[in-house]
Subunit: 260 residues, 4 copies
């Protein structure tokens, strides 16, 4: 989910958890690429809007915590206040460094990542806030490296570990043998296998925004070509559905109760 | 248009003007009904984001100017700064008064509206900012009443008049005989007739957001039902299209130029 | 208190409650007069900053709730989220109406005020949030009128009543005989008399900002006249005091703990 | 200057330029230490408020540009939009790295700094925006190193160079022999010598906020000890002065003109 409307729609079809990706929020809020151009303030403000509009449990991808361990502390405070149920802090070195090749990934040292995760845990004031350590180590340091990092992160008091690039069953099994924390992963395997090996949150990728973009293009193309409003109607949410999305009945009831 | 992404898409299909409706921004920003719950700050912030992301000429529906004539001045300052090319100030009495029946429309007096429009003109610092007086008088005061208001508003120095509810050709002709300012209207008649009678901006109604909502619902429904990501692909904007929308190539060029 | 620094200083001299006046926030945030030009978003953002920086119980003057009863609901939600311990909603008609004379005060009807206070109470999600009904009726409707309003407001479920213009002991006694809720008042009488008659929060007026302004003027005048930095030192908070205000030691400890 | 009020006061005593220090804004906005915890959004928002409230030419200390060269571009866009006349981008490595000792300063390479300054110049849309390259090299790389950096920065198209730690006359003379750009410096020497060697903006250090803090403490201490409001009056700006600061007369004139 990326804005209040998408959150309302996701909730209405039955989702209980809403994933808030940093890249998607950068797109939705700035129409910018996923390059850490969005500020923590902008990210938190968008999440606050989503949180006010829906009852979804929000899982925010807080990237690297917007700086060093002290910035991580502020990130946790701001996002906790904005209403997330969970947030991930990753061990990538961000934003891109001078001289870094396009597509090259860099990680911070395990010591630095541990400092950041300990800071995140210390900054939490609501004990029910879930802090997830996210590691990209599978890609660059292999299964052994990822497990070593995950063990170190678990010792910081985080509540779950997100393994980016977890695509192979044997990786999952090796991890599950030693990591007792809940696991977050993208969906590369069957659901049951994942569920049986400790995966508790499964990300499905970012499909909602591209879906909306395609619909926007078709609607605008039709109208800008002089097409009539009547002809696009079949491709639009109905007035009733829009009223549901914006809670029109609730406001009507409040008007009756407090304004008359 | 209602957010940076919709503005980018509208621009890419050839639009030169983007209409920013108060109701649509309330939906998109708060998932709230069109009841003046959105603050001027939230409205201006959303417009600033849209303005930074696109080259559209933005026409903002600034409702009643968020209060009295002094609030109108601040509205003009904030929206001018946020990057609008034009804004409308209407003569409705808003927000809904205590005791006002649902659906009942109330207008401020012509004197009060004139004070607000004179304030709006005085608050403008960029002479190219277009200020549009918007009147709902056709519905409640008839063609004569609307013309009287429009003449008074024109004398304030506004650049155009927006007639809400302009549905009948004879209304348009009566107005066109006496009002020499450009006219803004919703599309209830053929384009040529409107163009020949002074209508310079034609609103097509709010179809983009409902189009996006329908697409979101279909995408979420598919995924929440366990549907595969592959199966929805056909209904999504392509990776290439998403990259265009977020300007990925531009960022890539900047990375090559300044980060290496 | 009007910003994070003033809150830190007030807390350090022993205050437990910080009053956040609408007029003072308008001055501090916009350098604007007290004319409802500040938006709810700006007010809430300033309070959030103050709340993050201090442990004061914050009492916010939320004016008339930024519109009608529905706007009151949003005001309560936003200020509760921003971290206030208490907020006041008043029965003045704001912002100034068209045609209203300078200095003239207008009130909304008792029915409308009741609708707003009932809405405020309904919008509260944290039961410990204190909602104060504030009435200006003493000035325009006399003691009897003010008592009638206060009784009606008490029946809405508010937690306290703020009587503006409560200057006479006999007014206080008449009120105290019938209103069992805690009272908020400006200091026009001796503290004991007030305390013995139900006054639980005593406002001392807005002296902090004028104090800061006088100091700013003297510092700037000295420096702009070519005066040396050394000569103003005696009029400045010491480096140690500034470090205390910004919590420098805490950050130093965090750096030692998480960045090394 | 650090908020709208301080800017109004500085302007009223005759200042034409207002310096906006990153550290001071962090104090004023967050009551936080100068550790890059303030986001670009918060910094820009505070500057926008200051800019709206005063006619000072604002010089903003934009630290290291809030990230890499792409973040610098966004910094320039946001601060230009917020209303600065000039901004500085420095060659320090910020925020503090993992393992960096307290008090230790780290700089980015000359190549990286050049990339950032070229990006800053490219991101400017208003040609009158002054971009200042700020270097800390005098301290760590000596006069020769600083000159080498300054020459490289000048070749990027920046409009001035800010030498941090410029304390010795022979340093200034060596710099002035080769750098033809205007120089920004802190006041460590006599004004004439500085002016004769190309220094065009002279910073006087951050005295305004500590002056305000001392006044706040004295006011709060007096009041919290039960002191009367009358007794502090002599230490407060007068009502007339406060009205000047918030422009009360202007608002009164607008009320007469547009609200009646």
């Amino acid at each position: 989910v990326f804005d209040p409307i998408s959150a309302r729609v996701a909730e209405s079809v039955g989702y209980e958890i809403g994933m808030i990706g940093g890249s998607v929020i950068a797109s939705a809020t700035l129409a910018a690429a996923d390059l850490l151009l969005l500020t923590l303030s902008e990210f938190a403000a968008q999440i606050h809007r989503i949180s006010c509009a829906s009852n979804l449990c929000l899982v925010a991808d807080a990237d690297h915590g917007y700086g060093n361990a002290l910035n991580v502390m502020r990130t946790v405070q701001e996002l906790e206040h904005a209403g997330v149920a969970a947030l991930t802090i990753e061990d990538s070195s961000l934003p891109m460094s001078f001289g870094q090749a396009a597509g090259e990934e860099r990680m911070v040292s395990i010591e630095e990542a541990v400092g950041k995760l300990r800071a995140a845990v210390a900054a939490r004031t609501d004990p029910s806030l879930v802090i997830v350590g996210r590691t990209s180590a599978l890609r660059s340091e292999g299964t052994e490296g990822a497990i070593e990092r995950a063990k170190a992160y678990a010792s910081c008091g985080v509540d779950a570990i997100f393994f980016v690039g977890l695509e192979q069953p044997d990786q999952l099994e090796a991890i599950y043998r030693v990591i007792r924390l809940p696991i977050v992963a993208f969906q590369y395997m069957e659901r049951e296998r994942l569920a049986n090996h400790g995966v508790r949150i499964l990300l499905q990728g970012h499909h909602a925004l591209p879906g909306a973009v395609k619909a926007l293009r078709e609607t605008y193309q039709h109208l800008s070509a002089g097409g009539s409003a009547g002809d696009v109607k079949v491709n639009l949410a109905s007035a009733k559905e829009m009223n549901d999305v914006i809670g029109a009945e609730t406001y009507k009831a409040w008007q009756g109760e407090f304004l008359r």
